[in-house]
């Protein structure tokens, strides 16, 4: 325990030296367990595996911190996502919830209700997807640094293609903000000399629909006879592409990589169609988000930039300015987990 505290202090010091803002003396916090606070975990919508995993992570933290209060997992239906999120945010404020943990799907339309919740004393912690303007948001728990994802994808391409070859990107929808940011980051990474022999030949979109993605993947193979890799930065696209290559017996020629869920990818990784892919752990994201929200809602954290705390098994985290959204605050979870034949089975459980 003592050793942990010392290392916390060291980490806080390191963080402090990197930030411009003056750090208060109480910057490093061990959260006091057992305080009662009701909190709401609000995903984009219900019925998506990764959000259920985030819920599991939050439940784990809830039990670990011995919070006698209630952890609610409520969300809208997909077709009613925006209005539903606003409604739940508003209701949570009415109920006097301690914190709402939001994976925002409503853009800035959530701002008035989030601000009203803050005025009512409810802390608003976003995770997975932030409030674009940062208004009405205490802090964003970011899964990864959106810039670093490009390097991870370039590295996976490098390792699968053995340093040289053609690759194509199969993304979600043409206007998906996160995927576009990740592809741009990968294109930037590919400029580096290490990846000089890797050629990005095309970027196509499967609209995050399994059948469209499946057909697009096959069309890519027809169009580019020398294609060695399909990189799909979406869990729907990577699975559909892998299935397409497997069904057509093309796995020897064209490999698949990108961002995928271990549970959905395990068979393709073991049979070599998708030897390597990456994703952050949504259980960890839910766990870290819960610790953050608990600290804020119980008043143990103030949410200032430079503040550090220990998030249970995950260790030390510091609130910093979000480089992508100046003037807002984030906690960076990171890094990626890269899955391959060695670790995919365990993660798929």
């Amino acid at each position: 325990m003592k050793r942990l505290k010392t290392s916390c202090a060291a980490a806080a010091l390191a963080a402090a030296s990197m930030t411009v803002v003056a750090i208060p003396a109480s910057a490093q916090t061990m959260l006091d367990a057992g305080q009662e606070v009701d909190m709401v975990l609000l995903p984009k919508f219900l019925g998506i595996l990764v959000f259920d995993q985030a819920h599991e992570g939050a439940q784990e933290a809830h039990a670990e911190l011995g919070n006698p209060g209630e952890l609610l997992f409520v969300g809208p239906t997909p077709e009613n996502s925006v209005a539903g999120q606003i409604e739940i945010m508003t209701t949570s404020a009415t109920q006097g919830q301690g914190a709402v943990m939001l994976s925002n799907n409503a853009g800035d339309q959530i701002v008035p209700s989030a601000q009203a919740a803050q005025d009512a004393g409810t802390r608003v912690v976003t995770w997975d997807s932030p409030i674009p303007s940062g208004d009405g948001e205490d802090v964003f728990v970011a899964q990864v640094d959106f810039g670093s994802i490009g390097v991870v994808m370039a590295d996976m391409a490098h390792s699968i293609l053995d340093g040289s070859g053609q690759m194509a990107v199969l993304s979600a929808t043409p206007d998906a903000a996160n995927q576009n940011a990740w592809i741009a980051a990968m294109e930037e990474a590919l400029e580096m000399p290490k990846y000089a022999d890797i050629e990005l030949v095309d970027i196509v979109y499967g609209d995050d629909q399994a059948e469209v993605s499946y057909n697009r993947a096959l069309a890519l193979v027809d169009q580019y006879p020398d294609l060695g890799l399909i990189m799909s930065p979406t869990t729907v696209g990577i699975q559909a592409s892998s299935k397409a290559m497997q069904d057509e017996g093309l796995c020897e020629q064209v490999r698949v990589s990108g961002l995928g869920l271990p549970a959905e990818m395990v068979s393709y990784t073991l049979n070599g169609c998708a030897p390597e892919f990456a994703l952050w752990d949504f259980r960890d994201l839910g766990y870290l988000t819960y610790y953050t929200a608990y600290g804020l809602a119980t008043g143990q954290l103030s949410g200032e930039i430079g503040e550090s705390f220990t998030a249970g098994r995950m260790g030390e985290y510091t609130i910093e300015e979000d480089p992508g959204r100046p003037g807002t605050r984030r906690i960076l979870m990171g890094p990626f987990t890269v899955y391959n034949a060695d670790n995919v089975e365990a993660a798929a459980q």
């Binding site: 609610l72 409520v74 009613n80 539903g84 009415t94 800035d108 008035p112």
Partner: protein, 331 residues
Amino acid sequence: MTERSTLSAMWARVQTWEGFLVCALIFIVLMNTALSPQFMTLSNQINLFQLSIEKIIVALVMTFVIINAEIDLSVGSMMGLAACAFGFLFQQGVNPVLVIPIVLLIGAAGGALNGYFISKVGLPSLVVTLATLIGFRGLARVLVEDRGITDFPDWFDRLGQQGLVGPIPLAIIAFFVLFAILYVVLQRSGFGRKTYVIGTNRDVAAFAGIDTARHKMILFIASGTVSAFAGLLYAARVGAVRGDVALGFELDIITMVLLGGVSIFGGSGTLLGTLLAILIVLNLRNGMALLNITGHIQTGVIGILLIASVLLPRVNLGGFLGTRKQGEAGS
């Protein structure tokens, strides 16, 4: 004599239906009050209206359209188009005070477009407004692309989010004022009577010298304008617009009107019924939200309520069986 007795029978049935709605509403309000300590607070009662305010304003005009034996599926898309047009023009630097009348004109023009094809060309409103549902939405998405537009002037956001008279915001006042005006128009004026007559039988109405085309034109222009107004209220309430504003709202609006006892075949229903249905849906949603029943379960419960209430009164079991027997005997 037969007409008089049909009318009185209809009136009796409508009264029973509204009576049933009142009972259902009282039951839901009592349940909510008993189960949630926050339900009867003023701020929650305001939120209850505010969260659905745009839909319920449009539902008032939709009542006229459906009684007239027509339908307007394009209202949700028009709300989206109006909100996006506001955002777009605001971003182009047009004075927002000027943008508001322009957006209302866009609503009137969109309604007139529907009205033209329905009343002058004679196409079914289901087809015409299905086309404009897609068209208006497409236009909205073209205007704002995949961006959110935000940072509207403070006074505009305040109108949508804060109290105008005490704690009561503009939109709620607008709803009740509009209800009062439309109630008089529908239940107490010649225009209202024409709406029923045309809805019951358009040919008879035309034969009796009513200009049915003009009447329908007025209704669709009103529907477009009020939808645009509702779209502006939405933009002010959430302080931001995106291409998907009010997506799918038309179905919620139409179900509220049908729950209110308005016949989908036209000719019957009242504005009071629509108001009661609105209050039932709003209170049920709010009560379930306060009890943390959300998502698919909430949709399911409201769905079951609507199936039960919209279908049951319309399936006259005895009459239905009787018709079947007749059909069998004929064949």
